[in-house]
Amino acid sequence: MNRTVQKYNTIMTGNEAVAVGVKLSRVRFISAYPITPQTTIVEKLAQMVADRELNSRYVEVESEHSAMASVMASELTGIRSYTATSSHGLLYMHEMLHWVAGQRLPVVMSVVNRAIGPPWNIWSDQSDTMSQKDTGWMQVYCESNQEALDTIIMGYKIAENSDILLPLMSMEDAFVLSHTTEPVNIPEQKVVDDFLPELDLSFRIDTDRPMGYGSYSPPDGPFMELKKDMHDSMEKSRKVIRKVTEEFAEATGRDYSGLVEEYLMDDAEYALIASGSLASTGKYVVQKMREKGLKVGLLRIRFFRPFPGEEIRKAVKGLKGVGVIDRSLAFGEKGNTYLEVAGSLYGKRDTPLYGFVAGLGGRDVKIEDFEEMMSIMKNREPGSYWINVRGGE
């Protein structure tokens, strides 16, 4: 993102920025159950609805499963709908995530990434959303409060595209973004209205045309075709994402460059791949390393679903080493991003690949941790390594 053209007009936390994004998107139905560190998003939205600043229904429910179920029902009536959650709340929604995606509903949800217990831990970690990566939802990992606001608006436009019609979850890191105040530019309502048209859901519930929703399909029914169609839409969404981020850049001057962000990659010999706010520390380290003469770049994964395999293959071509940082892992395997990167390179690139599992349960990933990753990439065999863990890797 080109930071030099940024003009900020306020300061706010990531969660406030998300709530403002929801308001600007003219969401008409919100249902949620509070959970740290998501709470202040829905608290702010409930206040906006109570103050009639936002013309929306706000429905309190007894659980996240019900929150997603009611959002599914409202979206089916053709109303733009929203919810937000974190961690265990997201896991509790799991079944309904499949329902919303399978029913082809363009819901947008915010997830504030938080660790999964035990032991009880409320800090930043991507295990919650990584465990939902295969539910048919698009996934975006934001790096700044500004991006968190803008992604809600872009998210609805991508999800509601008639070739896509899949839900989207937009992530912020617990506390580092959700509760930290940053400069933010709030776009004007008119700019958002011109960018994001009203939702027109062709198959919405219509009492004059009663239909069966989510009804039964035996093995020789359309079940398999419906799943393939979801996959085809996910594949097509890459093009839509690139187009929507371009349109957003034209409207606001903020260019999110599609599925990934490349940072000093042009002449790089080594690269780090990261997502979320870890990428910010990564960029700082990349600058410092370059001052010392090491040609390093960083590739920030914004979209994890659809996965930006094409972008990654292009970016890593000819590099001496690529290090993938993961704030979650598949037990008995490696970091989730590492596995996906390896999958997209297999048979096409033989770039030495390193995986770094770091920062679980909100443990800080410090500058010296990044330096250690760089040193591993220069001196050791490709493979997966633990960073800053007691008792050794």
């Binding site: 082809r104 198959f203 029914g221």
Partner: protein, 97 residues
Amino acid sequence: MVMVPVTDVSSRANKTDTWRTQKPVIDYDACIRCMICWKFCPDDSIAYSTDGNFPAPNDRIAKLEAPVIDYDYCKGCGVCANECPENCIELIKEEVE
């Protein structure tokens, strides 16, 4: 256009009569046309009929709409028989031919 799992035919196309192990049969001579069975049937398998050809306890009731079970879709759950205030729906065991 994307494929959506929304249809106006699937619940009609997928007949569920073979799911039945017992068949509800209405005794129209006792049925008072209260339509409680219609209201409770979880599969919407009971309809109203106005053709007036059903037996009835008396002439006045004979003029009312009568409940008719659609045996293509009735799954034989027995809810109607359980709810009928006149106890005039009998469940008969289905035999395999």
